[in-house]
């Protein structure tokens, strides 16, 4: 892919993503205040965040991969259950992931 094409991809993708954001803030409120819409919007984050958790913790290059990330996730879940502060949750997850990497080589 040439440098020019690469720039075109970068700029077109950026413009498109920005317009998607702007559209969200610009649609009339009346569209939003319907029961079905508010219902969907209320639950979309749970579905997507869980999908992101699963994909980023347990997949790599289009396949399921079990490694230190899952251990980090389990430690993070434990920390969350114990109501640890956000930054602590991230730190223990990172340390756990790094430790598993070191131990398993």
């Amino acid at each position: 892919m040439s440098a020019g094409t690469m720039w075109a991809v970068v700029l077109a993708g950026s413009l498109g993503c920005y317009l998607l954001k702007l559209a969200g803030l610009s649609v009339p409120a009346a569209w939003v205040q319907r029961p079905l819409v508010t219902r969907v919007v209320e639950f979309v984050p749970a579905a997507l965040l869980a999908a992101l958790v699963a994909v980023q913790a347990a997949t790599s290059d289009g396949g399921l991969v079990l490694d230190g990330r899952l251990v980090g996730l389990a430690v993070a879940a434990l920390a969350l259950a114990l109501r640890a502060p956000f930054i602590v949750v991230l730190l223990v997850a990172g340390v756990a992931g790094a430790l598993v990497h070191v131990v398993t080589g």
Binding site: L15, C17, Y18, L20, K21, L25, W31, V53, R69, G97
Partner: protein
Amino acid sequence: MLTRVHGVPRSARSATLRDAIGLGVAVGLYGVAFGAAAVGAGLDPWQAVTMSALMFTGASQFALVGVLGAGGGALAAIGSALLLGTRNTVYGVRLAPMLAPRGWLRRAGAAHWVIDETTAMAVAAPDRELGRLAFWVTGATIYLGWNVTTVVGALGAGALGETAQAALDSIVPAAFLALLWPRLRRGATEAGVQRRVALGGAVVALALTPVVPAGVQVVLAVVAVGLAGRPRARETAA
């Protein structure tokens, strides 16, 4: 609107600031990985940092360079970024009443920072004022951190040790879990339904991972919202 009444006003404000900055630092750190991934996929450092400055939505950025790195074409790369970007449209709809930006300039500015993290922080705040504070503080912290660390990652690509990479790889899913957690916790609004939807989303995403292009399974996981069922009259007033 939201009617969460628990929480103490003053400590709620400092808690909001602390969480927003903590999240910004954590997500900013991941910019190192993005910068490195972008250069690894064939972008030059200018293109990598242009993406962080102008696209500024991590999942779309990773998807775009992921598709390019896997040998995907220009349209597939842009398409995957846009598919993931549709999330932000939903977030914008959710945030519009809270942010209520006056004038096109302010709206155009606010729109740029409508992403996973700012939305989650704003929506999780106990009231509208704290929600706006959370949005702007989280947005500013992440924007700064994400762009600076993208440069660091792009220039240092390859220099990042494997152990540091493994730590980063574990931090990101943990961060998303931490964002998801309050929705599932006992006492949250319809926590049982949220758990069902979350489990459904994770299962759908994992099941689709081998068969759809990278990133698309996250968008398709939105079908799990169907598990929430139809709105009941009593709840629509909440």
